[in-house]
């Protein structure tokens, strides 16, 4: 009899707590951005397609579906690290076939331009203006430096100029932190010899 009571009580309790937890899960559900949005927010939006997808958003979707996180050269190592943090994956070096790229801007040598409009069609962010048979130009502020306009140009008149930002207006105070971020991160407290 006692055993039965115990079993019944436990079952009741389990049911009660289960219901409580279930209710709490529904009632206090944390709304968050869908994972694709969060990934897309980390990607640099150059829309360069070096990852093999036609733009940042498709790559974000691909990552959410399990693709590698190290295929975005404009995002660089920092981008890979941010993605790794977000997704709880291991950060890995950039894909070897891709090189980390510096920010660049496209510039058309205007006297050589024949006005073929091919680059205009290639630009993912509509940063090139011009009409057929007329000279084209790049709106520098809108250009993401994706390189996509370079191959279609039949007269090779587009240069990718690295953005140096090496002037007083872009100058920043240096990071005084020459030490590691935390004593745990880059230095073992109990020294361990790294073999290999």
């Amino acid at each position: 009899m006692n055993t039965l009571m115990a079993v019944v009580l436990l079952v009741l309790l389990a049911a009660l707590f289960g219901a409580l937890l279930g209710y709490a899960a529904v009632r206090f559900k944390v709304e968050s951005d869908p994972i694709v949005e969060q990934i897309d927010n980390i990607l640099p939006q150059t829309q360069c397609g070096q990852c093999g997808y036609p733009g940042c958003r498709p790559y974000a979707e691909a990552i959410a579906n399990g693709d590698e996180i190290n295929k975005c050269p404009p995002g660089g190592e920092a981008g890979v690290k941010a993605l790794a943090d977000l997704l709880g994956r291991e950060p890995k070096p950039l894909d070897e076939s891709l090189e980390e790229s510096v920010p660049k801007v496209a510039v058309i040598r205007e006297d050589e331009c024949i006005g073929c409009t091919k680059c205009i069609q290639a630009c993912p962010v509509d940063a090139i203006v011009g009409a057929a048979k007329l000279m084209h130009t790049v709106i520098a502020d809108e250009c993401t430096g994706c390189d996509l306009c370079v191959p279609p140009c039949p007269v090779d008149c587009i240069d990718m100029i690295p953005l140096t930002n090496n002037d007083l207006h872009h100058w920043q105070w240096p990071n005084p932190n020459s030490e590691p971020h935390s004593p745990f991160e880059s230095e073992q407290i109990i020294p361990v010899k790294q073999v290999s």
Binding site: W173, P176, S182, F184, E187, I189, I190, P191
Partner: protein
């Protein structure tokens, strides 16, 4: 590297702060030496040496510059605090184990100076108290009222070999005028209370046997003096000591008011055990304490409250170490909830 302003530094340094703390422990240490004899000195010496040696060894292991690491004297402060907290004539290995553990595990495993969440000295002390309860609660009676005072040579023998030249063990020296073995007044009160005596009776007995107004009171007064020195030199702030002593006074006052027979009076609380040492030297360790002004008052008050609760209801006679460690754990939370109001948000 490019250096930005200010190009100006107040002439203070961690080393100076630590040296002032060490200086401020002197009155207390001297009074303890006067009442409890050579054992105090042996403890202080051993703990200081072991602290510096462990610090140097670990810094070397960690590949840090151990000369500059030692010169901040933070390890020395830890060593001295443990030395002051140990019972005189506890065997040498007690001091060694406690100090080594404090420096190695409580300090450096967490990242060294500035990174330890717990007060290293108290971690070492608590480790000893739990591991060697007998050695850690065998306090000598003040030498001026002790039946068997202990001289330098016997002290040394007891400290090193746990037996003196006549073959007496430490117990021999622990007996008081009545021939009974006694612990600290707090211990005595606690045992008495649990045996059904009232505090009044116990106080009488303590006064008769010369415990009250002797020894411990003077030790506490000496640490209070050292603490006041630290306050005037602005090495510490009033927040933590006032919070802690105030809370001890209020909590014990309330308990005494509820039932004076069963609870130790506020004044006894304030001037016995490690109260003053704790309030001015241990709880004020900035690394492991709360940092906001309000937070520090709360931090101190929490320690004071727990000290009284543990002393009155807990299993150990003194409670400063446990209270400090418990509040160390709470410090980040306290800080989080006591952020000061930034300029411009004070009033509408």
């Amino acid at each position: 590297m490019l250096k930005s302003s200010p190009f100006n530094q107040a002439s203070n340094s961690v080393t100076q702060l630590m040296l002032q703390v060490i200086l401020a422990t002197l009155p207390g240490a001297l009074i303890m030496f006067y009442f409890f004899g050579w054992g105090v000195l042996f403890n202080l010496l051993t703990c200081s040496l072991v602290a510096m040696a462990s610090e140097a060894a670990i810094l070397k292991l960690r590949g840090r510059d151990f000369k500059s690491g030692l010169s901040d004297y933070s390890a020395l402060v830890t060593g001295i605090l443990i030395g002051l907290a140990l019972p005189p004539l506890a065997p040498w290995w007690v001091a060694v184990i406690g100090t080594f553990f404090a420096i190695t595990f409580a300090k450096h495993v967490y990242g060294g100076l500035g990174y330890n969440p717990f007060n290293p000295a108290m971690v070492g002390y608590v480790l000893l108290l739990i591991s060697f309860p007998v050695a850690m609660t065998s306090w000598l009676p003040p030498q001026n009222i002790a039946t068997n005072a202990v001289n330098f040579l016997d002290s040394l023998n007891l400290f090193l070999f746990e037996i003196d030249s006549q073959g007496n063990k430490l117990n021999f020296y622990l007996q008081n005028a009545d021939g009974f073995t006694m612990a600290t007044p707090l211990d005595e009160l606690k045992t008495g209370l649990s045996m059904g005596f009232t505090t009044a009776e116990l106080q009488d007995k303590l006064i008769l046997t010369g415990w009250v107004n002797q020894g411990w009171q003077w030790v506490n007064i000496a640490f209070l003096v050292g603490g006041l020195y630290l306050l005037t030199r602005k090495v510490i702030h009033w927040y933590i000591p006032v919070g802690m002593l105030g809370a001890i006074f209020l909590t014990s006052g309330l308990l005494t008011w509820i039932d004076p027979d069963l609870h130790i009076s506020p004044m006894t609380h304030l001037f016995s055990g490690a109260t003053m040492l704790g309030a001015f030297f241990i709880a004020t360790d900035p690394v492991s304490a709360a940092t906001t002004p309000k937070g520090r008052i709360i931090f101190g008050a929490g320690i004071g409250f727990l000290v009284v609760i543990i002393r009155n209801f807990g299993g150990y006679p003194d409670a400063v170490a446990f209270a400090v460690l418990l509040l160390n754990m709470a410090a980040p939370l306290i800080d989080h909830f006591t952020q000061p109001k930034v300029y411009g948000t004070r009033d509408a």
